[in-house]
């Protein structure tokens, strides 16, 4: 079901522009790469020289009845050249591979670091498979190109140009003919470039989407199994994999037809050249020696010409891979610390939202933003419940406090200071969040709970903190698991029960010891009893901690000193539970389970809105 997204804008970015962006990574290792280039060139020359030297030695040095010293002389020359060739090959690899792998790794680490800092809104749009393919396969393509492709492309180009010059030297007519032959190749190369680049980009994107599909099929395995939809998933994947296959095949076809041109055209031209050359020799306008030399050179450059076809393909793939990489690196991070972050005068714990407006990017321009005009003041140390119907924007509002999203307009203040003036990390140290869907990690319970724990605690303090957090969240069950708090909880904590997961996530928020606690429906998966126990303990802990808690149930509202009612993107009313219950009809509608007549009998109704 996964869709192709982020297909990238296909408008062509010139190769040189893409390559220029490699500069900061490649510049430091450039000397080594150049060293490697000369080694490659040297090794090539030695390889070509050995047969020449052999022939010369045998023909000129060795002869019947000669001295044995002459044999040893010849042997040592060949052995020395042989060593030299091996050494140059060895050195080329030594020069090139390490820095190329270094560039790859540096860019990979940068990529990860950049991704971690990109806002949540970015991650909502991008599948992790797609990102993964950009961090792994795309960059290893770059490494291979740096270590091999780029270098060989240069070596081959040099060889071909030298060869062509020599050919002109031997016969300008034949040389010209040969040059004419490169016109169809150039035309073909132009089309090849466009087609291959498009196909290569498409295949890389499809491979990324395929990885995303794999990821979803694993994360959603419960739903797939519950509905027995394995087959449909398989078919969807099959279709996706097949279209990737089709793209790969069309890539191969493009390359094959280009290579056909590259191999056949020069040789056909040579065939014609042969006829003309022989005729010229017969007519006495060309020497046999020149003809032979011409063809000898043509034979030598045939190999690099063919290799250049392949290398061109490799270069194009690398280019599109890099475009994909930089596409993500170019994504702007619009949630960053300001250049000179301020510090609040006093860590009061107050949280205020003033005329806050927010709409999601794809909702932009809609008449009614999710949050239209929010004014809410949470006093220091106070616990405020946020109530509203499903989809009214409670979670959205909560996300604004730790700056997971930025308000479109208006200001959010923590400790009386605009969150945009805060150093991001400091801000988030002040705030701990328990999300509505518990995002746990596949490590131990201890690691999960202590994730946000203040830095600089010693072992004992951490242990005490862990114990307290688990205790408050009523998660003592952790100790009775097979390995106690060292138990691995499986991916996303799925080897725990729903309520257990939620309590661990709550414990994690508590263990961060924040001044401001943001809890998104933290008790939804708990039974009434446990909920009561948690509520009691939390009330004690929350003393002095400013808390904003989303509540769907009266029982959760009980945690709060005051309640804010969210409706149509505004805070409709703020007050105590009892007060709202008696004064606000919408509040009754949202929170009261009893039918109206039942309510009537319990609370004196005074509908005055």
């Amino acid at each position: 079901m996964a869709r192709r997204k982020n297909a990238g804008n296909q408008e062509a970015i010139p190769l040189s522009t893409t390559l220029k962006r490699l500069k900061p990574f490649v510049a430091p290792v450039l000397p080594r790469l150049i060293g490697g280039f000369f080694c490659a060139l040297g090794a090539g020359i030695v390889a070509l020289a050995i047969p020449q030297v052999l022939a010369k030695l045998v023909n000129e040095v060795l002869h019947y009845n000669g001295a044995s010293g002459e044999v040893w002389f010849a042997v040592s020359i060949i052995a020395a050249l042989g060593f030299l060739e091996a050494l140059l090959i060895f050195l080329r690899r030594q020069f090139v591979l390490k820095p190329a792998a270094g560039v790859e790794t540096d860019m990979r680490i940068h990529f990860y670091q950049h991704l971690q800092r990109l806002p949540v809104s970015f991650h909502e749009r991008w599948g992790s498979g797609q990102l993964l393919s950009r961090s792994m396969s795309d960059l290893s393509l770059l490494r291979r190109w740096l270590a091999f492709g780029a270098m060989m492309l240069i070596v081959d180009t040099v060889t071909v140009i030298t060869g062509l010059t020599l050919m002109f030297f031997h016969s300008w007519i034949l040389g010209l003919l040969f040059l004419l032959g490169s016109i169809p190749i150039a035309i073909k190369a132009y089309h090849f470039r466009n087609d291959f680049r498009a196909a290569s980009r498409l295949s890389q994107d499809q491979a990324g989407d395929l990885a995303t599909a794999v990821e979803e099929s694993v994360h959603g395995i419960r739903v797939i199994k519950a509905f027995g939809r394995g087959r449909d998933m398989y078919e969807g994947f099959n279709a996706q994999a097949k279209s990737l296959q089709e793209t790969e095949l069309s890539k191969a076809r493009t390359l094959a037809s280009f290579l056909l041109t590259v191999v056949a055209v020069p040789e056909v031209i040579l065939g014609i050249g042969l006829v003309i050359g022989i005729a010229q020799v017969a007519a006495g306008t060309l020497s046999v020696g020149s003809l032979v030399a011409f063809f000898a050179i043509a034979a030598v450059i045939a190999i690099p010409v063919e290799a250049m076809g392949m290398l061109l393909g490799m270069t194009l793939s690398t280019k599109t891979a890099l475009d994909r990489h930089f596409e993500v690196m170019d994504a702007v991070n619009d949630i960053t610390s300001p250049d000179s972050p301020a510090t609040p005068g006093e860590f009061t714990g107050a949280v205020e939202l003033e005329h806050v407006r927010f709409s999601y990017p794809d909702e932009a321009g809609r008449a009614r933003p999710i949050l239209a005009d929010i004014n809410l003041e949470i006093r220091p140390g106070e616990t405020m419940a946020l109530v509203g119907i499903t989809g009214s924007g409670k979670s959205t509002l909560l996300n604004l406090v730790p700056r997971l999203h930025d308000a479109t307009a208006g200001t959010v203040k923590v400790h009386g200071m605009d969150v945009r003036d805060w150093d991001l990390e400091k801000l988030r140290t002040e705030i701990a969040v328990a999300f509505e869907d518990t995002t746990l990690f596949s490590t131990t319970i201890r690691e999960n709970v202590l994730m946000g724990a203040p830095a600089g605690l010693d072992e004992q303090q951490r242990e005490a903190l862990l114990a307290e957090a688990l205790d408050v969240a009523q998660a003592q069950f952790a100790y009775s698991l097979a390995d106690g708090v060292e138990t691995l909880i499986g991916e996303e904590g799925l080897s725990l029960s729903g309520g257990q997961r939620q309590r661990i996530a709550l414990a994690r928020a508590i263990a961060a010891q924040p001044r401001v606690l943001v809890l998104d429906d933290p008790l939804s998966a708990l039974d009434v009893r446990t909920e009561e126990a948690v509520t009691q303990r939390l009330r004690a802990v929350l003393e002095g901690t400013t808390t904003l808690v989303v509540a769907h149930r009266p029982s959760t509202v009980m945690l709060a000193d005051r309640v804010a009612l969210l409706r149509d993107g505004r805070i409709d009313a703020v007050g105590s539970h009892a007060h709202l219950l008696s004064t606000n009809e919408h509040y009754r509608y949202v929170i009261a389970s009893l039918d109206d007549d039942e309510q009537e009998s319990q609370i004196p109704s005074e509908v005055n809105r």
Binding site: L62, R222, K251, E267, I278, I431, V528, P554
Partner: protein
């Protein structure tokens, strides 16, 4: 054979002799199984390469022929000979080109067919594997098997199996020509095979461990990456960025170090082979040189011999490259084949039974269950639910409610005892039948990226838009869906991030509504809903449930009002069982729960 190893020792780098043998064998078996269906194509590509190369070899011969024979003929006025030679040359040139491009297409076809085959095998298999497996084997690992491990196979195939064949043919022919020139020299060249083999052997034993390590490390890099991206909210909220940076950088560095090690190893093999080749030539030169001195060898023969023996080592480079890719792919296939070796713990019956008309009667007998080989969670219980009954399951968190539900949905199998649907053990039902009749809405409302409509249609693929909308209306989701920018076609984004938690639950619910099963299991399906929506859902439920069997797990006892029967689960046991009224009257746990709940209401 003993028990298959599966993924058990996946992270091990140093293996015992027996383990090594087992994993190597399964890896080669997999490779062979993938290659076998392509054998005709392989034969074709080898043929194409040979013809293409032969055509290319003919070109210089034609030039020599032109100079030696055609030129004198032309001088005598025989212009037809020139035309013929030129024509032959062009024919060979075109043949070489056409064969080459055909070969590239054919080779790509093989490579892609094998990759697709493996990709689908792995996908199908991971979908087949039970939840138990997925709980410990993270998605990152599976992704790593499906991406970077497959990539190594691709590299191997791109290295050109057929070119390898043509290299071998080349070597054989060159060797034969050396023997024909001078058999003694031929023997010397053959002796060079000893150090060459030794070098390859040395390389293989070293690289095997490195490549194995590379797979383990790359899986770690990938898993870390995926987990960070999946949990990015928590990462940000708990400021894990720096610690993660460090951790990831360490892993990436480890991966790099490993790569560099294997490059270095190859960096010895490759020049080593060149050196051996050159030394062989030097050896031949010494051997032949003295024979020239004493006149037992001709200079011409000598030159030809030396050039041929230099050429014979040229394809070694390609062979070495291929060998190295083979090592890398084998290491990767060791892992992939391990994954494929895993057997689902919940097995499809070999001879499934079917039920004509499912009524929906469920019965547990002497059932015992525990996850994996962990402690027993549900100890020896009997439970029978007559067809059409609506049963509410309540109890403390961690009591075992979801476990009970997941057993009925056959996410796991009982350790002992039996579970039957209409008298047929659910183990004996085909997966397809079971899933059609028993549907569970899990505690985690998972949406796939794709449109709202597609997500609901997961309940019944092929459902019309009208049916989808009806399902959405029934659970009270229609209105909010219409309010989304593209209505039913709105993409809900990865994991349904585009909609709110409650909306996700409503969509999951609509999905189950659409599936229309005989047995419906709802595990906390309304926990994130506000009270009005919950009420709407309950209203929908009442019509939906009609006469089907339903198991409803809920902490909000409001749901219990529509139940015929209540089960209280505690510590893995069913401690109370009866109608709601009866249990309230009895004054046990449920009565207490109910009272607490009532008090919490307003």
């Amino acid at each position: 054979m003993s028990q298959p190893l599966g993924v058990a020792n996946e992270d091990a780098i140093k293996l015992t002799g027996a383990e090594r043998k087992a994993v190597r064998q399964r890896s080669f078996r997999l490779l062979a199984a993938l290659a076998l269906p392509q054998k005709k194509m392989f034969a074709l590509t080898v043929l194409l390469v040979l013809v293409s190369n032969a055509a290319r070899v003919a070109l210089p011969l034609l030039i020599a022929f032109a100079i030696d024979s055609t030129l004198p003929a032309v001088r005598e006025g025989n212009w037809a000979a020139l035309g013929l030679t030129g024509g032959a040359y062009i024919l060979c040139a075109v043949t070489a080109g056409v064969m080459l491009s055909w070969y590239i297409n054919a080779a790509a076809r093989i490579s892609q067919a094998m990759l697709l085959d493996l990709r689908l095998r792995v996908f199908r298999h991971t979908q087949r594997l039970s939840l138990e497996f997925h709980e410990s084997y993270t998605s990152g690992r599976i992704i790593s098997r499906q991406t970077s491990d497959l990539e190594t196979l691709r590299e191997l195939l791109d290295q050109g199996v057929s070119e390898l064949a043509s290299s071998c043919v080349f070597i054989v022919f060159t060797l034969a020509s050396i023997f024909m020139l001078d058999w003694q020299s031929g023997i010397i060249v053959c002796f060079a095979a000893i150090p060459v083999t030794g070098l390859f052997y040395w390389y293989q034993s070293r690289s095997e461990v490195l490549y194995r390590e590379s797979r383990v490390v790359s899986a770690k890099v990938i898993s870390t990456f995926v987990e960070t991206m999946t949990g990015i909210r928590a990462v940000k909220a708990f400021r894990r960025e720096k610690a993660n940076d460090q951790n990831y950088a360490d892993l990436a560095e480890q991966y790099r170090a490993n790569n560099v090690k294997s490059f270095n190893l190859f960096g010895i093999l490759q020049p080593g082979l060149v050196l051996l080749g050159n030394l062989t030539v030097a050896g031949l030169l010494a051997f032949g040189g003295f024979r020239i001195l004493d006149g037992t060898m001709q200079v011409g023969v000598m030159v030809a011999l030396l050039l041929a023996s230099k050429r014979i080592f040229q394809p070694m480079d390609e062979i070495a490259m291929f060998y190295s890719s083979l090592q890398s792919a084998t290491a990767a296939l060791e892992k992939v084949s391990g994954l494929l070796e895993e057997e689902p713990t919940v097995k499809e019956p070999p001879a499934p039974r079917s039920i004509e008309q499912v009524r929906g009667e469920l019965a547990f007998k002497d059932a015992v269950f525990g996850y994996g080989d962990g402690p027993v969670i549900m100890d020896r219980f009997d439970l029978s639910i007559p067809a059409g009954q609506t049963v509410a399951v309540v109890g403390q968190t961690g009591a075992g409610k979801s476990t009970l539900a997941k057993l009925i949905a056959r996410f796991y199998d009982l350790r002992s005892g039996s579970l039957t649907l209409d008298g047929v053990a659910i183990k004996d039902l085909s997966n397809e039948q079971l899933r059609r009749h028993v549907v569970m809405v899990t505690q985690e409302a998972f949406l796939f990226s794709g449109s709202v409509a597609e997500n609901i249609a997961l309940g019944r693929p092929g459902a019309s838009l009208q049916e989808i909308q009806d399902a959405a209306k029934a659970v009270g989701a229609h209105q909010f869906i219409l309010d989304l920018p593209d209505g039913y076609d709105t993409d809900v984004n990865k994991r349904g991030g585009r909609v709110s938690a409650g909306q996700r639950q409503l969509i999951s619910f609509a999905r189950a509504f659409l599936a229309d099963p005989a047995v419906l299991i709802l595990d906390e399906a309304t926990s994130s809903l506000d009270i009005p929506s919950e009420r709407a859902v309950q209203h929908g439920l009442q019509t939906l449930l009609g006469n089907r069997t339903a198991l409803i797990i809920a902490h909000r006892l409001s749901t219990v009002q529509i139940a015929d029967r209540v089960l209280v689960v505690h510590g893995g046991k069913i401690v109370e069982d009866g109608s709601p009224q009866q249990l309230i009257a009895d004054g046990g746990r449920f009565a207490a729960l109910h009272k607490a709940w009532q008090d919490s209401l307003v």
